[in-house]
Chain length 310, copies 2
């Protein structure tokens, strides 16, 4: 168990030392990891930190507004960058999972790099945690915020990286967030991947497909809010399937519902959701989204699956 | 409720009258519909009937051998045609569901047409039932054995079609099958679509993908044998997803498990299978099929989904 007070005090001292009189930018996606890392750095360096929220067009319903509002309410200097068109442009035509992750990561770093130059900063804060580091080193996935671990020189992008949470697993991060007094919506927030909804649209990522999975995600989250599970989300398949809408045969979309129990994301089990809830989710999704004809429930643990589909 | 004795007697008289001194070929796929139709015609015209099993490479594990053996044990003249390569050739490169159905149907009729010419027959028996007719007229699917109803001239293919079960729904067919004394493996047999496993391989149909879905289907059928459900099967997606096998990240196959309760296939509900069984199926599939990393369970009713995916 992490001693949160001790961790925070030590981290603040280290961050102050590392940063000196330089300016810092924090990559703030809204998850517990990046918000905790950001607030920790804010505590250490105050106004030398600028939190940046990049609106990549891939966030959940209401998330951009929520993140920016929360950052400001914490007294953090905040900049919001609208990069929706650029992200969709870079993702256009890409269908391979790893290629999509790489495209997202490159655009992410380039966008941040620009802001970092404009703001004349030297450091970028990222919410990397221990599970990300382990999995990247083991080759499970290419995480967008662990460049140092995999030997890519962050200087290429024009800045150095601060990762104050890299020794913590998820439960430790939440303990620190609570100790820091972050709002509950942050400290208890479900994990959400860096490349966001782009990982939950199989095949090419388009604004239209993201809008579908965003709405399906909202429904899944609403209906599973009280389960206490680790991650609850929706995935839009590239495959289509036959269905019947208004008495006519249609060739429609498939949504998978994924709800997992996990401690640290390294392993996970599919949650035994009661069928009443599952059927309610499937009903809502196929009714509220006119193109969706089928809902599937993922019953695979990690391993052999991963939590996300890409 | 169908009076099976009366139905059989009436059908035999009508078939005799229609067929006269002509020869008849029966398209025998192994399902309760085609087997019952075939045996009914055999009762009516005896040796003037030749049952033809076309091995299209798309049948379930052990099915070709089972069908031919059963037909022979019923005393029916039987011919088995190996058309595996031709069917895969015609399906090659086709990814659209309706295009695949059409390709299957055309190849099916051409193959049968050839045999019909060789055998100098005038009639072909098909196991069309009422649900097929209704759905084709309503545009839900293009069934391969209801040409007459949708206005296609069967003469194009060189023969006339006999559909003795076209007034029956599925339970009526089973009652007739029992009354005819067909083996239980036939009278209680789960429905299986004409285009067989080609509908359960999303995207292009290849021998390799059919082998995967065939094995997954066998596992699903074995583990759900005693549920008393209407249809239990597996679908292989064209989409891929990430997973972990032997500690390494892989980009693997997705299988959907589909188990439905239905009376007549016109409507259906997803079965509330207990999770123990679902997890056992998922475990077996991901262990016994090295390329599969994920198993999903279809929780959608018909409507808005259909029973099959294509």
């Amino acid at each position: 168990m992490v001693d949160a007070k001790e961790f925070i005090n030590k981290a603040i001292i280290e961050i102050k030392e590392d940063v000196g009189e330089n300016k810092v930018i924090s990559a703030c996606s809204g998850g517990v990891d990046s918000m905790t890392a950001t607030y920790l750095v804010h505590k250490a360096v105050g106004d030398k930190l600028i939190a940046v929220f990049i609106n990549d067009g891939l966030r959940r319903e209401g998330e951009p507004e929520f993140v920016v509002r929360t950052l400001k309410s914490l007294g953090i200097n905040t900049r919001s960058i609208d990069a929706k068109e650029e992200f969709f442009k870079t993702l256009k035509g890409k269908t391979d999972a790893e290629e999509k992750r790489k495209a997202f990561r490159d655009k992410f770093y380039k966008t941040f790099g620009q802001v970092a130059k404009e703001e004349n900063v030297k450091f970028i804060v990222q919410g990397t945690i221990k599970a990300d580091v382990i999995e990247t080193v083991e080759g499970i996935k290419s995480q967008h915020n662990v460049l140092e671990q995999i030997g890519i020189n962050p200087q290429t992008y024009g800045y150095l990286i601060l990762e104050p949470l890299r020794e913590l697993f998820k439960p430790g991060v939440r303990t620190v967030a609570r100790e820091l007094g972050l709002p509950k919506e942050i400290s208890e927030r479900m994990p959400f991947p860096g490349p966001a909804l782009s990982l939950r649209v199989l095949g090419e990522v388009t604004p239209r497909k993201v809008a579908i999975v965003r709405k399906a995600t909202q429904i899944v989250e609403e209906e599973t809010l009280n389960l206490g599970t680790f991650q609850n989300f929706a995935v839009l398949h590239n495959d289509k399937a036959t269905g019947i809408k208004n008495g006519k045969r249609v060739y429609g979309n498939i949504i998978t519902i994924r709800v997992v129990v996990s401690e640290d994301a390294v392993t996970a089990t599919a949650k035994e959701i009661d069928y009443k809830t599952l059927f309610k989710i499937a009903n809502r999704i196929t009714k509220e989204l006119s193109t969706v004809v089928r809902c599937l429930y993922d019953v695979t643990d990690k391993p052999p699956a991963t939590i996300e589909f890409e």
